[in-house]
Symmetry: C2
Subunit: 246 residues, 2 copies
DNA sequence: TTTGAGTTGTGTAAAAAATACACAGTATTT
DNA sequence: AAATACTGTGTATTTTTTACACAACTCAAA
């Protein structure tokens, strides 16, 4: 096979300069990072999209992405994009998958590393003055530029799996939240309804919620208690595994 | 930020040729695929390694990888590497993560997409005549070339999670297997002991195992029954999800 | 042929977790 | 003052998970 840097002949040790020649001259591919930025508002899971800046996709929305600089770490590129677009750093960010279809980008071979991030829309609202940048209901999206619909779907599926096994939901909420808000996050991400009493029982039993002795404000009904999530306690007590279940 | 292909100024539509110029001239990075090939033998989880063909890492073992050709799909590159090294196609293969540290490769910026695959060592034994290619106990590995130890660790952790939620274990076994062999796979991957009767009960209750009415041969003790895994039945009946659990 | 080693195959009782389910009380709006 | 929309709480039932023991079988070695 052409361009192999490993062979199965014993004792074929390549020099570094030979490899360098290969790396420099032959197999170079453009690399981008795309961020699926999730938020939660109006009891719906949202994703932040921008109008495509490519003529070919004019009118379509796309994820927030950028080329990776050759001197830039992947995670740093994702963090940079987030910071540029939302003004936020210190957000939950996780690599999802790398998408490398040959013809996914009209400009040539561009492979992209997808990340998703979870942000608290309230903290962020100020930043979207730009009317080419908008929050969209995840479930209303049918078409996006490039292969971004596929990237969104994959990220959403990963979020659905992860949110059940890790305390991600809190990243979509303010530091103080009511149990109803928390349940709404789960119900919208997982697209299901849960029993309110059992939901409460479950979270109280976990014992990671801190009752901060405050009540909701400005709700048009009886206000509920507010809680924090205690990440420290979680880190100490989190369980290792579960069992075989498929 | 330099090289941005998205801006937050409304109505900035880039032409395709402008983007093409960027992609061609600036942000090009070499791309490779590395495969973590897991096997199961002697009641241990194994990984297939090759002696590094780079002088800098002479003596160290490394994962099986190669540069991706600009005209090659990522999955195809992984499949190709597997076919080259093991002679097998039609194996379980899954993308794990992309590793992009700036200085991970001595030849310059090379980012690598890691895959893991699960193969049945028996089917494969013939192919390793090459004494630079060897199966190693996963748990005995302390150092590898490049950042391959980190890639292995990440892949192994992902395998541990996945094997509990998906029927992967069967890919490490022959089509016909005994329940003890199956339990040994789980115990070695998860590095734990399980109760034999409860293990059996669980798998029989799932109802995906087919009793093929054959017995183990050539075992130095009372032979057990052999089973197949019924993937069709699994695909039809697999559960959607579980619940909040962390 | 006997014995020891190493395994197979099987069931039940107890504990833990998940589920289903109803009503009185409180803040807000009209 | 009435309507709305939520809060907060407990129990009984079902399901799942866990812990645990023994007789029978095959092979290999004495």
């Amino acid at each position: 096979m052409a361009n192999s840097n490993h062979t199965n002949q014993a004792a074929t040790i390549k020099t570094l300069s030979a490899i360098q020649t290969e790396v420099k001259n032959i197999n170079r591919i453009a690399l981008s990072v795309d961020c699926v930025i999730f938020g939660f508002d109006e009891n719906k899971l949202k994703v932040l999209l921008i109008r495509s800046d490519l003529k070919k996709f004019q009118g379509l929305w796309s994820l927030l992405g950028d080329l990776v600089d050759p001197k830039e770490e992947l995670d740093s590129a994702a963090t940079r994009i987030l910071k540029q677009r939302t003004g936020l750093d210190d957000v939950y960010l996780e690599q999802v998958k790398t998408f490398g279809c040959i013809d996914r980008h009209p400009a040539g071979r561009v492979i992209t590393v997808a990340y998703y991030s979870l942000i608290n829309i309230q903290h962020h609202k100020l930043q979207i003055l730009d009317n080419e940048l908008h929050w969209h209901d995840v479930n209303d999206i049918t078409e996006l530029a490039f292969d971004h619909k596929q990237i969104l779907d994959t990220s959403y599926e990963q979020l659905q799996r992860r949110v059940q096994e890790h305390p991600l939901a809190f990243s979509l909420l303010p530091k103080k939240f009511s149990l109803r808000e928390l349940q709404n996050v789960y119900e919208s991400i997982l697209d299901t309804k849960m029993d309110r009493r059992n939901f409460r029982k479950k979270f109280f039993a976990m014992d990671f919620l801190v009752d901060i002795d405050q009540m909701e404000q400005d709700v048009p009904h009886r206000p509920g208690k507010l809680y924090n999530f205690n990440y420290n306690k979680y880190e100490k007590k989190k369980k290792k595994w579960v069992g075989i279940d498929f």
